[in-house]
Amino acid sequence: MADLTKLAKLLQELDDQMVGCMKCGMCQAVCPVFAETMKEADVTRGKIALLENLAKEMIHDAAGVQEKLNKCLLCGSCGANCPSGVKVMDIFLRARVIVNTYMGLSPVKKAILRGMLTKPALFNALLDLGSKFQGIFTSKVDDLLGSSCSKVLSPVIGDRHFVGLAKQSLHSKIKALDTPAGKSGKRVAFFPGCLGDKMFVSVAEACLKVFEHHGVGVYMPEGQACCGIPAISSGDRVAYDKLVKINLDLFSKGGFDYLVTPCATCTATIKEIWPKLMDEYPATMRDQIRALHDKVMDVNQFVVDVLGVKPEAPAKGAVKVTFHDSCHMKKSLGVTSQPRALIGMNPKYELVEMAECDRCCGSGGSFNLYHYDLSKQIGERKRDNILATGAQIVSTGCPACMLQMTDMLSQHGAKVAVKHSIELYADSLR
């Protein structure tokens, strides 16, 4: 019991935020996890009630609460729909740090998050090596989607159809960049993100092509680390702090106007989460984080809002494209019209909206690893909405969603390509 008292004390710091939940239950209407399980402990109201009870020592099974707490996509749909404006993401991220630190991380998570992710050089080297050997264990299933499956690895990865590591990562193609502003007069720092660097290299390359076309100078330093979201959503504050520090050291230099990423999740993490969790950092780090908060921008938003790219009338090409609003892009960053504008710039395409275009695809980062069946059920609803449009391409602004949608479409044998909106725009440029 003494242990629970300590955990309860730690959780009491969340009380001021949790007390705002009036238990109205409106989160049930939008939670993708609840839609599948229909269990109160899987929806925000239930999770907050459990955390409150843990903080009041009214519940003894802390591991039970931990399990419920981690069974969440962190998609933010509930927060965006909350009548009393409860800061759900704040509560859940902090609670995950408290509860998961207290209960302990699994050895596997620890090895990945602390042993690899926080050491970019090692992480890169291991994955570069991996990309050379992955063909031995996996077989291609869909050329259009670029997906593979693996019999040998199935005990680990199940029946997933995954996007493999790129043959050559971005950092091994282009070590670093440091070019001056061109005709646009702007210079950006480019943060491709782990998936942009290692899997969807074409997305990162599309960004670079767009920057070059518009005369945007690029600062892309070597040794970039993960933005920290996998660590913090696993409640690993130690690894998270290390990752933030590595990136701050790189991006406090370079003299740029904007920090641009093609990953809505990375953008949202840098913009929203870094400032939320900086109270314990020294003043210089807090200043750096504030500066980056003002400068970080999703690539779609940068091209449309800063560079002023906008179609006079949306294209009405032969190829139908539908767009998925990733949770971080819409619910955290409020970016919705810009990627659609970019798709409208390419005369080959016509945008057709899908039903529930802003409903979570079910990826949720490591949620997909720990709750694959649930993630798949949520993803299949997204897949069905995509298929119902008859589009040949589904586009989005988040590489993690691209992975999930690729898996869902590939397993279904659907001939729908998955593309980042910046790729579709880059494709229209000479």
């Binding site: 007390v19 239950g25 049930q28 209407a29 269990k39 009630a49 519940i59």
Partner: protein, 461 residues
């Protein structure tokens, strides 16, 4: 905790996955939307067919376990808080099939766990209309709506849930299936048990199927907003509109406190000095709508509204409604705890009621914003407080008591649409009579001898 043997029996009926025994799962069914103490159930059972539902009810009765049936758990009077004596929560959210939507005879048959808004959307797809629209409709279940006789914004013209219940099949405590009402407009076969089940809050039986009436939707509508420098004028406007033989589909009221909270939240530039705002919408045939709107405008001018805005199109209508849509969100954000009441008075008594509420707020030094359905006299005095502040919350409880006192003295009622539950049961006798409570208890004892059907609700223990 029930015995392992009993848990096994429940598992045999509904399957292992649908019996929740873990502490975390049980605790997440210990509360609803009412500001009351939580009670953790001993067990949570989720039937996936109505046949299972009947067996579960019977098993509970055999073992003397109190039953609380739960849909979405949005109850505002504690009706879905389980009983502390080995209480069992029965979930209806897997009983969510729409069995039939009959477009010829204008009715639908549903299981109790169907979500209200989803049902309304399905009905709308077929060109029909299910009007009851409680504030929680995005998540609330039809079973819960019937058990509470839920209202909503359209009450004045279209009525409330009870006006749409044509028939109910429900399980008695022994798991016997009772059938009442029918799919016909007229039905005088036997006691009107369906009528009795409406608003019974789970204390008399457990719903299996519900037959709901559907209507053709209005073809056109028109919305307007009127601003008043005096609550009395707003009330005169309401009376004047009715006297002009116009029945608006919605006639919503917001007091000054609410206007200011909404303006703080939305920065929409609402008239902060106004004493009241009315939002009025008329619907029906296009010609009639135009005529009615004209009549309403005339009344508004006559009673001296300081400003009248008429929406020209759907976009403007959406904008006009923004203030009302944001009433609860704005109030809820102002302070940690939101106590949402629904004392209701005859509509002519609204100015007296609003004045009394403001006096009570001043007397107890608490913040109250009042909004609600002016056409029904159904106000929502919303008390903004922090339940962690014991002294303040005591004052809140006194204030609530006084609000009920005033409502009753104005020939009003304790609850327009939220139900009595546990929160208001101590007031029942004051509004009704000793004999009413005795009659109700005698009836319950005859129907439910072991007192297992949601005990403690409406008529106390």
């Amino acid at each position: 905790m029930p015995s392992a043997a009993l848990i096994k029996e429940f598992e045999a009926i509904v399957g292992k996955d649908n019996v929740f025994t873990s502490e975390a799962d049980r605790q997440s069914y210990s509360y609803d939307s009412a500001v009351l103490e939580a009670v953790v159930p001993a067990l949570v059972v989720r039937p996936t067919s109505t046949e299972q539902l009947g067996k579960v009810v019977r098993l509970c009765n055999e073992n003397g376990n109190p039953i609380t049936v739960r849909g979405a758990g949005t109850n505002l009077s504690g009706g879905t808080i389980p009983d502390p004596r080995e209480g069992i929560v029965i979930l209806t959210n897997s009983l969510n099939r729409i069995i039939e939507i009959n477009e010829e005879d204008l009715y639908a048959v549903v299981e109790p766990g169907v979500v209200t808004a989803k049902f309304a959307a399905e009905v709308a797809k077929r060109g029909l209309f299910y009007p009851p629209d409680p504030g929680s409709q995005a998540v609330s279940t039809l079973g819960g709506n019937v058990a509470e006789n839920a209202g909503g914004l359209r009450g004045l013209k279209y009525g409330v849930t009870k006006d749409y219940v044509m028939g109910i099949e429900f399980f008695d405590v022994n798991g016997g299936l009772v059938k009442t009402g029918s799919r016909t407009v007229k039905c005088v076969t036997g006691y009107n048990l369906a009528g009795l089940m409406v608003a019974s809050e789970g204390t008399l039986g457990v719903f299996s199927n519900i037959v709901l009436k559907l209507v053709p939707p209005p073809q056109a509508s028109k919305a307007m907003m009127a601003v008043f420098d005096d609550v009395n004028k707003a009330s005169e406007a309401v009376a004047g509109i009715i006297a002009a033989h116009v029945v608006p589909c919605t006639l919503e009221f917001m007091d000054q406190a609410t206007i200011r909270y909404v303006d703080d939240f939305t920065k929409a530039g609402l008239p902060r000095d106004a004493q009241a705002i009315l939002l009025i919408e008329v619907d029906g045939h296009a010609g009639q709508v135009a005529e009615d709107a004209e009549k309403v405008e005339k009344v508004l001018n006559k009673v001296g509204a300081t400003e009248i805005k008429v929406a020209k199109d759907a976009a403007e209508k959406f904008k006009l409604w923004e203030a009302r849509r944001n009433a609860l969100p704005a109030l809820a954000r102002a302070k940690p705890t939101t106590v949402l009441e629904d004392a209701t008075v005859p509509r002519s008594k609204i100015p007296a009621m609003v004045k009394a509420i403001n006096d009570i707020a001043a007397k107890y030094n608490i913040s109250i914003g009042t909004f609600g359905h002016a056409g029904d006299g159904n106000l929502h005095p919303t008390i903004l407080c922090d339940r962690r502040d014991k002294h303040e919350f005591e004052r809140v409880e006194h204030a609530v008591d006084e609000i009920f006192d005033v409502a009753l003295s104005l020939h009003g009622t304790l609850s327009g649409e939220h139900g009595i539950g546990m929160a208001k049961s101590k007031w029942m006798e004051k509004e009704t009579s000793k004999a009413t409570i005795e009659f109700s208890r005698n009836m319950k004892r005859a129907i439910d001898p072991k007192y297992i059907l949601n005990p403690g609700k409406i008529i106390g223990a």
